[in-house]
Amino acid sequence: MAAKLKKFFKKSWPAKKFEKKLLGKVFLKDDRELLLSAYEKKENQYILIEPDNADTVKKLNKLIPGIKKNSGALGIGKIASLAVVVISFTVFTVFFQNPLAEKAMEKGLEKIFRAESEVTGLRLSLFGGFIRYKSMQVADRDNPDRNLFQTGEAVIDLDMSEVLKGKFAANEIKLEDFAIGEKRAVRAKAIKGAVKKEKPASGAASSDVIKEAASAITKLPDNLIPDRETVKKVIIEKADQLSAPKEAEKIASELKSGAENIKAGVEKTESDIKNLEKDVNEIMASKLSSKLDLAGARKLADRIKSASKRISSITNTVESSQKEIEKLRKTAADGKKNIEKAVSNDIEYIISLFPGKGSFSVSSLAQPLVKEKLDPFMQKYGKAYEIIIKIKESGDKKKDGAAPAAAETRRGRDVRYAVYGSPSLHIRKVSGSFFTGENRHSLEIKDITNNQELAGKPLVFLIKSSLDNIKTEADGFFDTRKSAADFSGITVAVTGGKISNLSFLAPAGIDKLSADMDISASTAISADKDFTGSAGISLEKFRMNTTSQTGRIISGIIEKENKIDFEAKYSLSKGDFSLKIKSSLDNLIAKAVSPEKIAAEVKSFAADELAEVLKEKAGIQAEADAQIAELGKKIGTLEKSIKDQKKELDSKLKSLPIKF
């Protein structure tokens, strides 16, 4: 079959169009001549002359792809392909990306953990640098009723405008409600290939370490100030050295024997007076037969004289008894004075056994912690803080504005320009929360950066926690802006922190401890990576229940104070950690344990305890006193009785007819 010219070659072309669309696309001289030979120019038209030569037709047809290909400067096909790719990608992003990414994440988790995994609400934006999911749970393959771990909402939101400058910047990184071992709502399905693995033995629980550390710091010295029991014990032990009990015993003995002697005398006097009274009554009853009965009168007079003599004798005895009683009273009075003096001397002696400390340092309480815990800890893990130094140093190096690594070339020189205030690492907000049992702990940190000077902000943090019953609510900051180059002035502050119910302090004799606290600290790190610094801790609303005496004293002091300030100086040099604490508590406790205060406390206890010891002796003494008083009274009565009888006898004697 003869070749036929393709329809591409129209029968007539306007001259301009022919020259542009056909002739203008043919660049080889022979091809141009071939094309021109197929057309005849008439006026402004090119008219096709059908070639009868098959070879010419074939050659003309072969020109068509070249003519088509030479039209336009842009590769329309390639651009269209790109457009198709872009549209496909957009469609994929809008309709399929998130569900597919969710599935892929679940599959990935299941492959890693060999257990059913669920991810919900995943949203991914590759160009926006954003990924978020609402929840994630991974079952425990050994226990399908529980989760290995689960989380609530998680967000990673990168700041792409900074990332595209070669920096790592994130607006937010968040992980909420992370929990381990929670019970699942629905039992997990088994995953193929899941093999049980023996769980490695876990190390010592962190709470044990805390307990040990707390125990070390809270070994409160118990001899700062004596209590009543201690004083009593000492009084019993030192009884031989005490003079008051001996003096009291001596006085009681003297009074007792004196009173008994007087009592015996008084009883004899009473008997004598009774006999005398009988005689006096008889005398008073006897009558003379007549006034002339002189013999009878003489006889009566003799009887009266005899009775009077006896009265004199009894009166002398009574007077003697009275003198004895006076003497005894004086002995009692002197005895009391002597006992008081002895008690006073004894108290002085007891006080001398309890000398006051006169000084106190909280630092001494912290030394066991430093020696037993902090030193080994810092030697083992102390260098961990150098990670922060390295991050910061990386920020300092880029501070002057180096070009991103990708732009580095071996040819030419890089001209450096100032970098607008944005550090190469800046995470504007990191937040998260996790559960330990029923307790939820949350942490929020703002502006994590390797160059706070460029960021123009310090790191700010907010912590809410109730780990091991330490309820902490603290917000603070970590500021290195003033020492961007050398770490010479790092400051940290925590305000509004709360601690309460430190149950792990129980072994140290502290049942409960709670306080609001503010902390501020500044640290300088040397070129050798050692550091020195000081911290101020201010505690308010302090409450402490303790079973130790010193603890009670401290508790009594601090609970009266509105605010207790601590100043700590710490340093790390060649792995040795040093901590020295000064506190307003030192002065308060020093006052509480001063010699004067101790003396007053001991005096009070000793006086009470001595009074208890002297009580028995004092009873005897009081008994003797009462006996003396009674005897005095009786003697007074006897004296009166004697006087009355003497008076009666005298009147009888006068009535006699004879004079003597």
Binding site: G66, L74, A403, A407, T409, D414, V419
Partner: protein, 179 residues
Amino acid sequence: MILKWIINSFAALNANNRPGEIASAIALGITLAMIPAGNLTWVLLLALTFFLKINFGVEMIVIALFKPMASLADPLFDAVGYKILTAGTLESFYTKLYNTPLVPYTGFNNTAVAGSIIVMGVLFVPLWIACRKLIALYRAKLRDRFLSSSIVKKIAALPIVSKAAMLFSKANKLRNFRG
């Protein structure tokens, strides 16, 4: 791949390809060879050539040929680039560019990159015109004699060349040769 580019270039030069297409490939190839690679400018410029109707094979061959010569021009590029990048009046503009996302990856702050862009920017159009003229001249004056030369015929007849040409579906262009 290189053989493919060579054949492609040879075919393009001698077939009914637009001289501007080959001239653009040569000019862009020289430009890409002169600009230091490993930065976003170079990658973007290369990517741009994918969407232009230019001869990729020619471009690649030109890049390969001129790349070793680029370092010879570096003193010129460095001087021009340094002058431009340190021009006081433009410093704030460069600082702004430097702080713009992605731009630092273009390596614009490198004297060789900036200098080569400026120099090649200035030279591009004259180069393109010259190439176009040379191609037209070649096709008018030399092409027939060149293609009919015994050397070319022998080379074209080599089994490896014809096999490669077949493989790359470019043999039809070779068949257009006359003589």
